[in-house]
């Protein structure tokens, strides 16, 4: 079943248009990668999906319902979890408080609670009384993911989770995201770290200048070095 179906969206910041007819879809249980250099529109695509920067044209179908133009909090409540780039933990709230404000039951079997997110990210339990602003980059990244999980989403929009993290931390994060995927959570993953996204994804899209230039499997990308050279290396 297609969970998320974005078709032909155009999105602008003020008068400057940055997405020119992006179409992507995510099937239930899939992890889909969004690749592309800085500034191609990965984050804007995610913000268009969750309504922070609504598209001016095109459609965003979430579980067969049109959500383009709906309010961000309504989209979030219907199961779209957002983990933005540069993390955005609430710096003055403790780890525990960051998790608590995101807590939302959606009547699913086996819902997330604090104990479960601590089991996935043990470091967070160690620092649960520490303010978000005093965590390391890796811990903040785990906290943003954990915070989204507390809302029991059906999909995670994960924006550059590995950005700025040490290699060992990235490896651990990759395992944790793989665990989430194995549990059946659908994921849309924007990344510049090629191996990270190819290892995790079932399918990938490559973006350039606000358009989708390629769609295929991680194997397709690995077997076509010219793709990587053309669209991804700096």
């Amino acid at each position: 079943m297609t969970l998320l179906d974005v078709s032909g969206i155009h999105t602008s910041y003020g008068i400057s248009e940055v997405l020119f007819g992006i179409s992507i879809r995510v099937e239930d249980g899939e992890c889909v990668g969004l690749l592309g250099r800085n500034g191609v529109g990965k984050s804007t695509t995610m913000r268009s999906i969750n309504g922070l920067t609504p598209p001016s044209k095109g459609s965003v179908k979430w579980k067969d319902k049109e959500v383009a133009g709906k309010r961000t909090y309504d989209i979030a409540k219907s199961g779209v979890g957002f983990v933005p780039e540069d993390r955005r933990v609430f710096p003055e709230l403790t780890v525990w408080e960051n998790l608590d404000i995101a807590r939302r039951s959606r009547g699913k079997a086996n819902e997330w609670d604090e104990a479960k997110v601590y089991a996935l990210f043990p470091e967070l339990e160690t620092f649960k009384d520490r303010k978000g602003g005093y965590l390391s980059g890796g811990q903040q990244q785990m906290l943003t993911i954990a915070r989204s999980l507390m809302g029991n989403p059906d999909i995670l929009l994960l924006d550059e989770p590995s950005e700025g993290l040490a290699p060992l931390v990235v490896d651990k994060l990759q395992e944790q995201i793989a665990t989430l995927k194995d549990q059946g959570l659908s994921i849309l993953l924007a990344e510049q770290n090629l191996n990270f996204v190819l290892d995790l994804s079932d399918r990938v899209y490559i973006l350039e200048k606000g358009e989708v230039k390629f769609e295929g499997t991680p194997e397709d990308v690995r077997s076509q070095p010219e793709l990587v050279k053309r669209y991804l290396t700096v």
Binding site: F90, E92, L93, A102
Partner: protein, 296 residues
């Protein structure tokens, strides 16, 4: 003057009592400023409305037991309702605009309320009599002290503790703090931040109404009483740090004490001391005593 311990004590108590009344008002202003990023010029006018509405309600409830207290609660509720109308019909459409629009809008509110007050209550000075049981003085050992002023002090402390508890220890308070830090992110977690804003504006304005109603028996009601209060509240918020409740508490206390002792030192010019205090604080801590330097 300080060689008269009784006088000094009374001025100390006056300063605290004044400070605590100012705190109730300034707390609402700083709460709204911190969360909504709106500097509400009309906050003083809301305070004035609280005082006048209390005057009318005291008349209405005369004869009822606890009539004054009903009037105080009624004033706070009236201001909450008024703020709700202002927020839902007008203010919420200005959040995304330049700050200048918000300033102009709240300044227009000042004018409108000022005319409404003149129209409805006239320009004569009105006064509210002290409630039963609080007319006399209480023996504090060192001297007798007006009971109602003690009550004002107690109310300020009560409001401070309640607000501290609400903001730091309840889930709704966590939403308020999160909204202050990152509106978009909170929205992305499924929270209707627009409603949080509305409730904060309503609660902050109700505090102005409460402060005005409680002050009514201790001051005289006259058009223009809002100007003095808003200036003092601005100073408190600046000294304490924009958006900081703890800062508003400290700032209100400092201002109250300075006013009451300043009157003894240089009568009629105590306002100079207050500006001086603000300048000194800003020289050493431009972001206020308990504020934080702006990140961006």
């Amino acid at each position: 003057m300080f060689n008269n311990p009784v006088l000094t004590f009374i001025q100390l108590m006056n300063g605290i009592s004044l400070g605590m009344n100012l705190f109730i008002i300034a707390a609402g202003l700083t709460l709204i400023l911190g969360v909504l990023r709106v500097l509400n010029f009309a906050h003083g006018a809301f305070y004035m409305m609280g005082g006048y509405i209390c005057f009318s309600l005291v008349g209405l409830f005369a004869g009822l037991p606890g009539g004054f207290w009903l009037a105080v609660v009624g004033s706070a509720i009236a201001l909450a309702a008024f703020a709700w109308v202002v927020e839902t019909t007008m203010l919420r459409h200005l959040y995304d605009r330049d700050h200048l629009y918000q300033l102009l809008f709240t300044f227009a509110l000042v004018m409108i309320i000022s005319d409404l007050v003149r129209f409805n209550w006239g320009t004569n000075v009105l006064s509210v009599s002290l409630p039963n049981g609080f007319r006399g003085a209480t023996d504090l050992g060192i001297s007798f002290y007006p009971t109602y002023r003690l009550l004002l002090t107690g109310m300020g402390i009560f409001v401070a503790i309640s607000m501290w508890y609400f903001v730091n220890k309840t889930r709704a308070g966590r939403f308020v703090r999160a909204a202050r830090q990152d509106r978009e992110m909170l929205e992305s977690l499924g929270i209707n931040v627009g409603r949080v804003y509305m409730l904060v504006f309503v609660a902050g304005s109700a505090l102005a109404g409460l402060g005005g109603a409680l002050a009514a028996p201790a001051v005289s009601l006259a058009p223009g009483m809002d100007a003095e209060i808003i200036v003092q509240c601005f100073i408190i918020v600046i000294i304490g740090g924009l958006g900081s409740l703890g800062g508003a508490f400290v700032g209100a206390l400092m201002l109250g004490l300075l006013k009451s002792f300043g009157v003894m030192l240089i009568p009629n010019f105590e306002i100079v001391l207050i500006y001086l205090m603000m300048v000194i604080v800003l020289m050493f801590r431009p972001w206020g005593l308990l504020g934080k330097p702006e990140a961006k």
